[in-house]
């Protein structure tokens, strides 16, 4: 049996969740005796492909084409399906990133496969894979079993650990999938990057600010703390709706669901919709002047005081620590 890992790269660099998926595949293979095969799609990806071997992939298939330099939902789905069929892969793992979430449903239809998205755990039980995934924005967890021959699982980023690379490299097999213009019926023509900004969905540390900060100008101190920590800036819906911060920073049920190792909530009350998006963070720090605020119910550490005093002091202290 084969497990196919669809690795995501942008600008010839693997995204970290690709390594997490590779490692998860290796762990599954260990339990079921399967072979792990990688797939990398892009313009010029042969040189980076061997790196996947360090996380448990023995063989990597590369599909290169100048037109695949940018993501295309239709063309990538076709390529992934062709490779999955050629390899007769029965299990497909891919990261639940913006790309993976877009690709997986199409791939499921092409392969007549069941799909479990955004999984946070996979285990083998009497030969079947049981996936655990959050539903209702994390208010509940379900165990899901896929009943079709081919099974697709997308994995929530930052949950599975890639571990450190073990130094082995994978063998690389270029493979050609003929593509016509019709395969690119939807194509990306450009990317606007929020200048060097780290996205909350990818960050290992997030510092989020809420309405208690009183105005957009006071997010400067949130940004400074985030910078000192190498963190992304997040926001509650109240401040996004007020136009203080862009929507892509919103954390919560109608924003992004995040699981960083550290989430610092500053002047955020902790409404259920906000908690839904961040309560699976590994460590939560709350800074709020109201000690009854619900955010303290989920926080590991809290300071019940004035953010305007505490945040700058915290930034200084972090800088001191990092300076050592």
């Amino acid at each position: 049996m084969k497990i196919l890992v669809i690795a995501e790269q942008r600008e010839n660099k693997f995204k970290k969740p690709s390594f997490e998926a590779a490692k998860a595949a290796k762990d599954l293979a260990g339990q079921s005796g399967a072979e792990v095969v990688g797939l990398v799609i892009g313009e010029n990806v042969r040189s980076i492909a061997p790196e996947l071997g360090r996380f448990g992939v023995s063989r990597v298939i590369t599909v290169e084409n100048p037109k695949l330099g940018q993501y295309s939902t239709t063309a990538y789905a076709k390529v992934a399906a062709e490779v999955a069929k050629k390899e007769q892969a029965e299990i497909i793992l891919l990261p639940a990133t913006a790309m993976g979430k877009d690709l997986a449903p199409r791939l499921a239809v092409k392969l007549d496969a069941g799909l479990a998205v955004d999984c946070i755990a996979l285990k083998v039980d009497e030969g079947a894979i049981i996936a655990t995934r959050p539903v209702y924005a994390g208010k509940a967890l379900v165990d899901v079993k896929i009943t079709s021959q081919v099974k697709i699982f997308s994995l929530r980023p930052n949950v599975f650990t890639a571990g450190s690379s073990d130094g082995t490299t994978a063998t690389v097999e270029p493979f050609d999938v003929p593509l016509s213009d019709a395969d690119f019926s939807a194509k990306v023509t450009g990317i606007t990057q929020s200048t060097g900004k780290l996205d909350v969905a990818e960050a290992d540390i997030i510092v989020s600010g809420g309405r208690g900060l009183k105005g957009p100008e006071n997010f400067a101190m949130i940004e400074e703390l985030a910078q000192a920590l190498g963190a992304a800036v997040g926001a509650s819906r109240a401040v996004v709706d007020a136009g203080w911060r862009p929507h892509d920073e919103q954390v919560g049920q109608t924003g992004k669901t995040v699981s960083p190792s550290l989430y610092i909530a500053v002047a955020i009350s902790g409404a259920v919709q906000h908690l839904a998006g961040m309560s699976s963070s590994k460590y939560i720090v709350a800074i709020n002047k109201d000690k009854e605020a619900p955010i303290f119910q989920v926080a590991d550490y809290g300071i019940a005081g004035d953010a305007f005093e505490i945040v700058p002091a915290l930034t200084q202290e972090v800088k001191k620590l990092k300076g050592k």
């Binding site: 939902t73 449903p105 209702y136 509940a140 896929i146 929020s194 919709q273 309560s279 809290g302």
Partner: protein, 248 residues
């Protein structure tokens, strides 16, 4: 332009989730249901396109009789027709998509809108599946949309930025917050919606490819410690994060 909008009916965001006695679904007692929030952006965008280009907007929901509430809400916002694909059974995304794709084929619209995801199972899967079943292009997580002469340019949210995507009609668009500000139904709209019929149809039978075995609440996070009430607690906080949690 003929536009279809697919609408799901889901527990509202304030719902406190409890597991039902079957051990694999939520306890519905006292739960208030709403139109899935992203589907509201989808309805709004469809209405704006109709106002600009003329045509018709048709809402479709698959589910039990309760889904009529969501269809009525969309009628009140201004859609022209509503179809209920009546089904009380359990369906996975694949089975929902199959029925919606088949119903859409019969209508043969120029454009189909979905929400980015339903806020019950958070699958974000049905729209892409329908697109593939119809063999149409699609754009997911759309925050900006322009359509002229059958050409579609959209912007979708990705990590740390936006992707500009070009495609052509017919296609599928999955709406994200930020696309527009959904209108409130007018009193007149609400009154008119009451008398508009909701057409009931038989959906394609379910053929599920996945099964929920069990549902549980995540392990409750216990409240941690409040280590102080002012900046003097900061050094202790940093020490804990560095030495105990080892996250900085």
């Amino acid at each position: 332009m003929k536009i279809v909008v697919c609408l799901n009916h889901v527990p509202d965001t304030a719902t406190k989730v409890n597991v039902a006695i079957d051990g694999k679904s939520i306890d519905k007692t006292g739960v208030n249901y709403i139109i899935s929030p992203y589907d509201e952006f989808a309805v709004e965008e469809a209405l704006r396109l109709k106002e600009k280009h003329g045509g018709e907007v048709i809402g479709i929901s698959l589910g039990g009789d309760s889904h009529k509430e969501t269809l009525r809400k969309a009628l009140a916002m201004g859609i022209d027709r509503a179809i209920l694909l009546k089904d009380d059974g359990v369906r996975d995304s694949f089975s929902v998509a199959r029925a919606l794709a088949d119903a859409t084929k019969e209508i043969s619209p120029d454009l189909v809108f979905f929400g980015k995801q339903s806020i019950d199972y958070d699958n974000a899967a049905v729209g892409g599946m329908v697109a593939e079943m119809l063999g149409w292009p699609s754009v997911s997580v759309v925050v900006k949309l322009e359509i002229s002469d059958g050409k579609v340019s959209a912007e979708r949210e990705i990590e740390g930025g936006h992707e500009k995507v070009e495609t052509k009609l017919p296609c599928i668009i999955m709406a994200q917050k930020g696309l527009n500000e959904p209108r409130y139904p007018s009193l007149k709209g609400i009154m008119q919606a009451k008398s508009k019929p909701i057409e009931e149809r038989q959906p394609t039978p379910a053929q599920n490819k996945s099964e929920v075995l069990s549902m549980r609440k995540p392990p409750a996070k216990s409240a941690g410690k409040i280590i102080g009430a002012d900046a003097s607690a900061v050094p202790e906080l940093v020490r804990l994060l560095h030495e105990e949690a080892k996250v900085i």
